[in-house]
């Protein structure tokens, strides 16, 4: 009994045609291909619409003709994965791929090994700044970001000290909060 037949027998809502075809090995390959085409197109068009570039400017960025840009945005023919990556990068986006298992017995593609912890331990730092009467907490995971003014930081928010401490700890359990209110200097945080 398929999963869909099971659902129907169990009195759940009837399966949609897409659910049925997704479960059909004779159909789901073609559907997967069409889905990928539609989603890539969505990515490219949305990235283009949200950029401030014209088709001409995008063509200059990528090094192709304006006609080619129009072809790509209008999905005329199959796109190479390298073309998609180039266009997205020119529009200011990094192209990432992911694949998820379609059945519970299919292994996940996430890495089997845990990421190394030392990288985060060495780089973890939280800065607490008093700026125009509001309290800001900034988080960096980069070892070289010693000073708030120079580093790459994530703004956590204007929160009460306790909440900021909790937020910082939630972000990186290796970080403890040591700075006092109003302190702006480095490094505020020791390692656990």
């Amino acid at each position: 009994m398929t999963e869909i037949e099971y659902q129907q027998e169990a009195g759940q809502r009837p399966a949609s045609l897409i659910e049925v075809e997704d479960a059909d090995p004779l159909r789901n390959l073609e559907l997967a291909a069409a889905r990928a085409e539609v989603r890539v197109l969505h990515l490219l068009r949305t990235a283009f619409e949200r950029s401030s570039l014209s088709q001409k400017e995008l063509a200059e960025h990528v090094g192709v003709t304006e006609g080619r840009v129009s072809q790509v945005l209008n999905s005329e023919g199959n796109l190479k994965i390298t073309t998609i990556a180039r266009f997205l990068r020119a529009l200011g986006y990094k192209f990432e791929l992911d694949a998820t298992p379609t059945k519970p017995n299919i292994p996940s593609l996430t890495p089997r090994r845990e990421k190394r912890k030392s990288r985060r331990k060495n780089g973890g730092a939280v800065y607490y700044a008093n700026e125009r009467g509001s309290h800001k907490i900034l988080f960096t995971s980069r070892k070289e970001d010693h000073e708030p003014a120079r580093g790459n930081f994530y703004f956590i928010g204007d929160l009460p000290a306790t909440a900021m401490r909790e937020t910082a700890n939630a972000i990186d359990s290796n970080i403890t909060f040591r700075l006092q209110r109003g302190q702006q200097e480095s490094p505020s945080i020791g390692k656990k």
Binding site: E30, L31, L73
Partner: protein, 168 residues
């Protein structure tokens, strides 16, 4: 009138998309179209011979576009506004009409606004408040610049016959 059972194509976060059913309570043009595409026998005016092997891919593309509408609340791009609240999907020369309803047999006309400043030129801004239930109605091949009047009328007839099933 007894309610009919419609083939649901996609049940997404924004819309349920199903196939309209004619007044006989059984015939569904969209179901018929999917079967024809499956066999490569949809009478595509641009096809050189039948069965046309490209039609299986067109069928999948149509289904993926429908899924996108159900999941995102608007069609991707290959659509147009026809008239009186009727829209169409465009896959090559194939046109499939669709419309929205509250599911109780009612509908309100949500007109499309042509946005000529959009990069895709003939883009119609899709209404934000399209009703929850979307039905696929009439299908036809388009080889001329303008949609034939007979197809516009047929699209309205299919909607009327389909929505009648939902009215008490």
């Amino acid at each position: 009138m007894a309610k009919v059972v419609r083939t649901v194509l996609a049940d997404g976060d924004y819309h349920e998309v199903a196939c309209a059913v004619l007044s006989d309570g059984a015939t569904s043009p969209a179901v018929e179209l999917l079967e024809l595409l499956d066999q490569g026998m949809w009478p595509d005016p641009s096809a050189h011979h039948f069965p046309d092997s490209r039609q299986a891919a067109d069928r999948s593309r149509l289904i993926a576009e429908i899924e996108y509408l159900a999941d995102h609340g608007e069609p991707l791009k290959d659509y147009d506004y026809l008239h009186q609240g009727i829209w169409e999907f465009k896959i090559g020369t194939l046109r499939v009409t669709f419309y929205d309803t509250l599911g109780d047999g009612s509908f309100t006309v949500k007109t499309g606004t042509r946005n000529d400043s959009h990069w895709a030129k003939r883009r119609f801004d899709f209404p934000e408040h399209f009703d929850e239930y979307v039905r696929l109605g009439h299908y036809f091949g388009k080889s001329e610049q303008k949609t034939r009047k007979s197809d516009l009328i047929k699209a309205l007839v299919v909607r009327e016959e389909d929505l009648k099933h939902d009215r008490n």
